[in-house]
Structures are given as structure tokens and as C-alpha cells.
């Protein structure tokens, strides 16, 4: 690995989730982050329909944070999600570190909109700043390695205070997705897997 390459993060819940993709089944996946060749190659091993929202680049974060809770937020949440080609319910959601950049109201509105597109039992994966008080000014650009570890390829830059959402905060704000499992990662982030109740 070149000396300046960011270190790979061992994220066991992400690995489990990806390993659990059944190559014989069709899966519908919502990725709230940016499209990456590595992620698509990983998902391409199974029969996936991938929906990509790229909240950071298409104004989704600002739209959600600015919207007033209620109808305006619900409308904003629908608009930041991709237009759907199929009515197939979402099985997996990749949130990456994006919830850290949203208010809890915005998280709630977004996940509520996702819940309406997801099947009961759908899983959502997220990385939450926990140990560090600061985070990068802009969301990371996480790409998986071939063995399912994660590398943040975003450029270094200014930082801002991390909201350091607690499991209790998230449990109340994930639009019906409940905490299924959590792990503290070596980089100080908390890795969460949420499951949508029926």
C-alpha cells in the first residue's frame, strides 16, 4: 500500500452484511453515498438492483437539514431519494457516515421515507462518530476492499464538531429501524446495523 493511502477500516457488520448477499436472490439496495466502482463491483457478485442517492453531491444533506419537520421534511426526504424504476422493496440501506451530517429530525424524516420503500426486516448500516469529538467537514467517501474492509477516500480538510449521536438518539430517530447490532471500530467510530420492524 502506498504510504499516503488511508488505512482500511475493519468493519465486521458491513462485512457480515455483504457476505450475506445471496447470489441466487435478487436484492434491492439503497446507497445514500456516492457511486463507487468498488462498491458496485462488490454488489455485482449478486443479482442486485442498486439505488444511489449521493446525498452529499446532489444537495440532499442541505435540503433535509433545512426542511421543517412535517410535510416539508417528508417532501424533502422523498426528493433526495432516487426516482424508482421498480416497486421492489428495499432490502439493504448503506448510510455510511451521512447521519452524522444530518439533524436528528432530518435523520428521522429520511429514514421514514426509506421505511415506506423498504420491506419489513430490511437492514440499514451506518457509521457514527463516537470517540472523536470532531469529524471532517464533509462526509467520507467509503469504498470497500475486495475482502469487505472499508477505506475512506475523501480528501483531508477542515473539521467540525461531531454530533456523537447516542444509541438512544438513533434508536428514536431511525424511522422504525431499530438497533440490531453495534460495534466500536478501531478508528473510534461506532458501527451500527439497524433492522426495520414489521
Amino acid at each position: 500500500m502506498p504510504p499516503d493511502s488511508p488505512a482500511a477500516i475493519h468493519a465486521p457488520l458491513f462485512q457480515d452484511l455483504v457476505a450475506g448477499l445471496d447470489a441466487t436472490r435478487r436484492h434491492v439496495i439503497l446507497d445514500l453515498g456516492a457511486a463507487s466502482t468498488a462498491m458496485l463491483a462488490l454488489l455485482g457478485r449478486s443479482r442486485c438492483h442498486v439505488e444511489i442517492a449521493d446525498l452529499a453531491h446532489f444537495g440532499g444533506i442541505d435540503n433535509l437539514n433545512r426542511a421543517e419537520p412535517g410535510p416539508a421534511l417528508a417532501e424533502a426526504a422523498e426528493s433526495v431519494l432516487p426516482n424508482r424504476m421498480t416497486g421492489d422493496a428495499i432490502d439493504f440501506v448503506f448510510c455510511w457516515d451521512l447521519p452524522n451530517y444530518l439533524t436528528l429530525d432530518a435523520v428521522s424524516g429520511l429514514m421514514g421515507a426509506i421505511r415506506r420503500r423498504a420491506r419489513p426486516g430490511a437492514l440499514a448500516h451506518a457509521l457514527i462518530f463516537y470517540a472523536d469529538r470532531d469529524m471532517k467537514e464533509h462526509p467520507g467517501r467509503f469504498v470497500p476492499t475486495a475482502d469487505g474492509e472499508l477505506i475512506d477516500r475523501s480528501a483531508p480538510g477542515p473539521t467540525l464538531a461531531a454530533p456523537r449521536y447516542s444509541p438512544e438518539d438513533l434508536g428514536k430517530s431511525m424511522g422504525g429501524f431499530m438497533i440490531d447490532r453495534a460495534r466500536l471500530l478501531s478508528n473510534g467510530m461506532q458501527e451500527f446495523l439497524f433492522r426495520l420492524g414489521s
Partner: protein, 186 residues
């Protein structure tokens, strides 16, 4: 001369096209360029087209196109200056510029770095380079891709004067990243 609802010398057809440029500029539509995109007709940077664009040869778009683009048996390149607000049907599609609309290709779709794509992508092979901005969906289930492309061909055959012969069922082998398994082999 590029005329409304008529094919030009190169077989490129446009309906209800706005003549937003001079005859000289439209002449660039028929010019051939070499480079990425190969030997293709070009819609130049100053040209705006609103309507349905159809043709039977490779095309590079550097201008603004709104409506529908159908190049069923040909390659379409949307250059860095190109802005397309349309559903696009082609044999292959390469994007360097901006698109808003669904992209259908019988063989492959390539979204290059710095491209900005909003819409759904349906093709047996899809590649998205790092640095590209994409919002939409990518169908990676070969059976669903085949179904979607087949449906598109059927819709166009029953529609207006389509020149489509339908997508080949076995796309040519390509050296670049193949994110989707070729149709019929997975």
C-alpha cells in the same frame, strides 16, 4: 442541411429541433471527429435541440439536447460540454457531461469521472469511474436488464418509425470493468 423531421446526409434525424445556431454551426453536426467516441457526428456546443433525435450512426453531443435520443444501433458520447435532458436509447453510451433522464444501452454504459448523471441506468455492462456524480438506480440483475431492454425495444417497435433492430443478446466482450455479468450467463 439539417432539417426538421428529415434525415441528414449521415442519417441523423431530428424532429421539432430548434434552430438555435447558424447554418455554419449546424454544419458541425455532420462533421466527423476522431478521438474518444471514434468517427462520429457531432452536435456542437452552441446547438440546442428540443425534440426527438434519432439516427443510425455514432453521435457525440457537446450541446444541449432535450427530449428523446434514439441511436439504437450506434454509440452515443455525451461530451464534457454536453447536457442531455432526455431518455436515451443507444447501443452504447459514454457520459462525460450531464444527463437527466433514463439511459438504456444494449451493450454498455460508461459514466466517466466528473460526469453528472441523474436517472436510471439499464445495460448489461455498467462502469462508473471514481469522481463521477450519479443519482439514480443501476439494474445489476441480468434477467431484469434483459427484460427492461426487451420491453423498451418492443415499445419502440410498436411506436413511431423506429429504426431499432433490438439489442444484441450477447454483448461484445470488453476489457474494461464489467460490473454486471453479461446477459444470459449469470
Amino acid at each position: 442541411m439539417f432539417e426538421r423531421s428529415k434525415k441528414d446526409d449521415n442519417g441523423v434525424e431530428s424532429q421539432d429541433a430548434n434552430r438555435a445556431a447558424s447554418d455554419t454551426t449546424f454544419g458541425s453536426l455532420r462533421s466527423k471527429v476522431a478521438g474518444r467516441g471514434g468517427d462520429a457526428a457531432v452536435i456542437g456546443r452552441s446547438i440546442q435541440i428540443n425534440g426527438d433525435l434519432r439516427g443510425g450512426e455514432d453521435l457525440r453531443i457537446e450541446g444541449d439536447v432535450s427530449g428523446t435520443v434514439e441511436l439504437k444501433n450506434s454509440a452515443l458520447t455525451i461530451g464534457k460540454e454536453g447536457r442531455v435532458k432526455a431518455d436515451v436509447y443507444a447501443k452504447s453510451i459514454a457520459v462525460d457531461g450531464e444527463t437527466k433522464g433514463d439511459l438504456y444501452a444494449a451493450e454498455r454504459i460508461s459514466v466517466h469521472a466528473n460526469a453528472r448523471v441523474q436517472g436510471n441506468i439499464i445495460a448489461p455492462k455498467v462502469s462508473i469511474e471514481e469522481g463521477a456524480h450519479f443519482k439514480g438506480s443501476i439494474e445489476m440483475d441480468p434477467a431484469a436488464v434483459e427484460k427492461a431492454l426487451g420491453k423498451t425495444v418492443a415499445e419502440n417497435k410498436s411506436g413511431s418509425a423506429a429504426d431499432a433492430k433490438g439489442p444484441p443478446k450477447k454483448p461484445a466482450k470488453d476489457a474494461r470493468t464489467n460490473l454486471n455479468p453479461p446477459v444470459g450467463t449469470a
